[in-house]
């Protein structure tokens, strides 16, 4: 069948394109240009296309498949970068990769694939799409170290039905690299991408300040009990649970302090002892269900951040307010803006964004 492959220029999506081509599919490669690379690295004269786009094109040449570069700069700026900055300005810790998957990747590329007469969209994500009795299900990848199901939990059932993740069953990254080498792809040894793609050298607060200057304005660091302990250079530099970057407010006597909350209106960073941070209940909004929600409390496992193993919890869906209430078995630190994803074993039940505790 005709399949559109989202090719980032990295080893994963390159292998996907190569394997599908090898299986006899009519593969079309597409690479998103999400931002002006030259502007992002702030190097005059740098090409608007970064190395990744050039790599994707070379892989497509090697595989002898048509390949297109899609200009999504405006869409990405509005749907992902502006949202990223707005989220920080609202005292949250955004997760732009999920926003990008929700909009630029799965929404737009599925639409484009359909327009081009393709029957599926394939990506290099590490997750498994399993044909269940009631339709396609999203499952964790075979390799727990690489699993990206957390980032895909907000793709809609329709998008999931159209999508393919051929790497989900791979035992590990080494196997993927070996496949790349076998296919003769020169990206086989390319290092994994790091951090947020549009943020040069991890200086994300500069990106935020450009979009939302108020998130970079200085303010007070106050203790939960109201004492002013220090000053900060903008709430965008902090996330709930963080212990670094607090300066004079790092300790209360001998006791280390952590960010307990961010108050965008008063531009305050609220700190407290570690024990004061975990929440018994986490509120989740913008929920996407990949299995129709059940009535009453549902036992499940939950991930409140990308890098943690799912923890036992109970989730209750309030359809009237479109809010999910999650009660981890052990109270947990939850940063507003991050995703909360529910699992039942390997299967993703759904997910949404963590809201500030009321």
């Amino acid at each position: 069948m005709r399949i559109l492959v989202a090719m980032s220029g990295g080893v994963d999506s390159s292998v996907v394109a190569g394997l599908l081509k090898e299986q006899g599919h009519e593969v079309i490669g597409a690479t998103l240009q999400l931002y002006d690379h030259g502007a992002a690295v702030q190097k005059k004269g740098a090409c608007c296309a970064g190395q990744d786009i050039l790599d994707a094109r070379r892989v497509a040449d090697r595989l002898d498949i048509p390949h297109y570069v899609l200009d999504r700069e405006t869409r990405f700026r509005e749907a992902v970068m502006a949202e990223f900055a707005a989220s920080y300005a609202a005292g949250e810790t955004p997760i732009p990769c999920i926003r990008c998957n929700q909009t630029v990747k799965f929404q737009d590329l599925v639409e484009l694939a359909r327009d081009l007469g393709a029957e599926a969209l394939a990506t290099g994500h590490y997750a498994r799409r399993v044909e269940g009795a009631a339709g396609p299900e999203l499952h964790r990848a075979a390799d727990p170290a690489r699993d990206q199901s957390y980032f895909l939990a907000l793709t809609t059932p329709e998008q999931l039905a159209f999508s393919r993740f051929p790497l989900g069953g791979f035992p590990d990254k080494a196997t993927v690299r070996a496949e790349a080498a076998r296919l003769g792809l020169n990206v086989a040894e390319k290092p994994d991408s790091q951090d947020i793609c549009f943020v040069p050298a991890g200086r994300y607060h500069e990106v935020v300040a450009k979009h939302r200057p108020e998130a970079a304005e200085p303010g007070e660091i106050v203790h939960l009990d109201g004492r002013v302990l220090g000053r900060h250079e903008g709430i965008a530099r902090y996330t709930v649970g963080q212990g670094r970057g607090l300066g004079t407010a790092s300790y209360d006597g001998e006791q280390p302090l952590y960010v307990a909350a961010l108050e965008p209106g008063r531009r305050r960073v609220v700190v407290g002892p570690r024990a004061a941070l975990p929440q018994a209940e986490v509120q989740v909004a913008e929920v996407n269900w990949l299995r129709p929600p059940s009535e009453g409390p549902v036992p499940c496992q939950v991930k409140l951040r990308a890098r943690e193993v799912p923890q036992p919890a109970t989730a209750e869906w309030d359809a009237a307010s479109a809010t999910l209430r999650v009660r981890p078995e052990a109270p947990a630190i939850a940063a507003p803006g991050q995703a909360c994803v529910l699992y039942e074993g390997d299967r993703v039940l759904g997910g949404g964004f963590i809201r500030r505790a009321a």
Partner: protein, 361 residues
């Protein structure tokens, strides 16, 4: 069988041009050499120069100078930097990036009318408002094929002591070039020669310092050994008799076969015979170009960035198309286009159109 309809990107090589390239490659020799091999190359070079002047310079070009370059972009840059020195620069809003990027930031941008032709009133106002200028106006636009009224533009320039540089890269070889410009830029591969050679034609008596001095070739106007095979190909790339009329008829068949929802940019203005800018409202040009490519039809949209992305057309934006500026594809028929190309294009276009409406539903 694929259908190549992107002649404005590059024309297929004409057989006579190919033969001239091969002959020059086989002959060898550097036109600057003193010995017989050099003289042989020099003879070929000067024959090519005369052929280009007599074909493209006004009145068959007595006294006009032909400076060979590596292509159209260089010819335009040479004219702008050479002739624009000490003058104000006024540049049409729909000029090719080769001209827009060579212009300095203080250059004035001349608006176009809704049909894509240069706004003469605005030109006159701009010319009247300051010291002598260099005006850059293209003979025909690469995206829409719209021809500027060069005769009237030239008259205004003369009246105000301005020089006129005409980018004729797309117009050359597609009907007679309009008269009145002081310099004319050409590109070999856009007329059916090989890539790698272009030319700047200069009205007699114009002073033009070089961009590249080098060994003083081209009478000191452009250093570097001349790419003789490419130049010979450019000189030999002649259109066939009746070619323009044949392409225009085909182009008109395509436009007549499209549904009423489609907008043809610049349809009311004089245009190149081979070019049609077809806007399908609400559908990204990118999607159209890819869908047609997958169906074997090669068209383009906007100005191709080196990354290959399809950018929004600055030409359509300047013509006031607003949101529609992102929905136009350019069909440009090559000299060797198949006789049934119109029907095959319309079939592929309709198939694309019906699939789009399906997926939108």
């Amino acid at each position: 069988m694929s259908l190549y309809m992107d002649a404005n990107a590059t024309e297929p090589l004409r057989p006579a041009a190919r033969a001239a390239v091969v002959a020059a490659l086989e002959a060898g020799g550097n036109p600057s050499s003193v010995h017989a091999a050099g003289r042989g190359a020099r003879r070929l070079l000067e024959a090519a120069r005369e052929a280009v002047a007599s074909r493209f310079a006004p009145g068959a070009g007595p006294g006009w100078e032909v400076v060979f370059t590596a292509g159209g972009t260089e010819a335009n840059a040479l004219a702008i930097h050479g002739l624009g020195r000490g003058r104000r620069l006024l540049v049409g809003a729909t000029e090719h990036p080769a001209v827009l990027a060579a212009a300095w930031p203080e250059a004035g941008l001349l608006p176009v009318l809704g049909d894509g032709t240069l706004d003469l009133a605005a030109l006159e106002a701009a010319l009247a408002g300051g010291p002598p200028a260099l005006v850059c106006a293209m003979a025909a636009n690469n995206e829409t094929g719209v021809r500027h009224p060069i005769g009237e533009i030239a008259a205004l320039c003369r009246a105000h002591g301005a020089l006129l540089h005409m980018d004729a890269v797309q117009a050359a070889g597609r009907g007679a070039l309009p008269e009145g410009a002081d310099s004319i830029a050409l590109s070999g591969h856009k007329v059916g020669g090989p890539p790698g050679a272009g030319a700047l034609l200069l009205r007699p008596g114009l002073h033009l310092p070089p961009l590249i001095a080098g060994g003083g070739q081209e009478r000191g106007r452009r250093g570097g050994t001349e790419p003789l095979p490419a130049i010979a190909g450019l000189a030999a790339a002649l259109p066939e008799p009746g070619e323009a009329a044949r392409l225009a008829a085909l182009r008109d068949r395509i436009e007549a076969g499209l549904p009423g929802e489609v907008v043809i940019a610049g349809a009311g203005a004089p245009r190149l015979p081979n070019t049609s800018l077809i806007i399908l409202p609400g559908v990204a040009a990118e999607t159209q170009v890819i869908a047609l490519d997958l169906a074997g039809v090669r068209v383009s949209a906007g100005a191709a960035c080196s990354s290959g992305k399809v950018a929004r057309s600055h030409v359509l934006a300047a013509m006031g198309f607003g949101d529609l500026a992102g929905s136009g594809i350019r069909v440009s028929l090559p000299w060797n286009v198949a006789e049934d190309a119109a029907e095959r294009f319309l079939e592929a276009w309709s198939a694309m159109r019906s699939r789009l409406s399906k997926s939108a539903a």
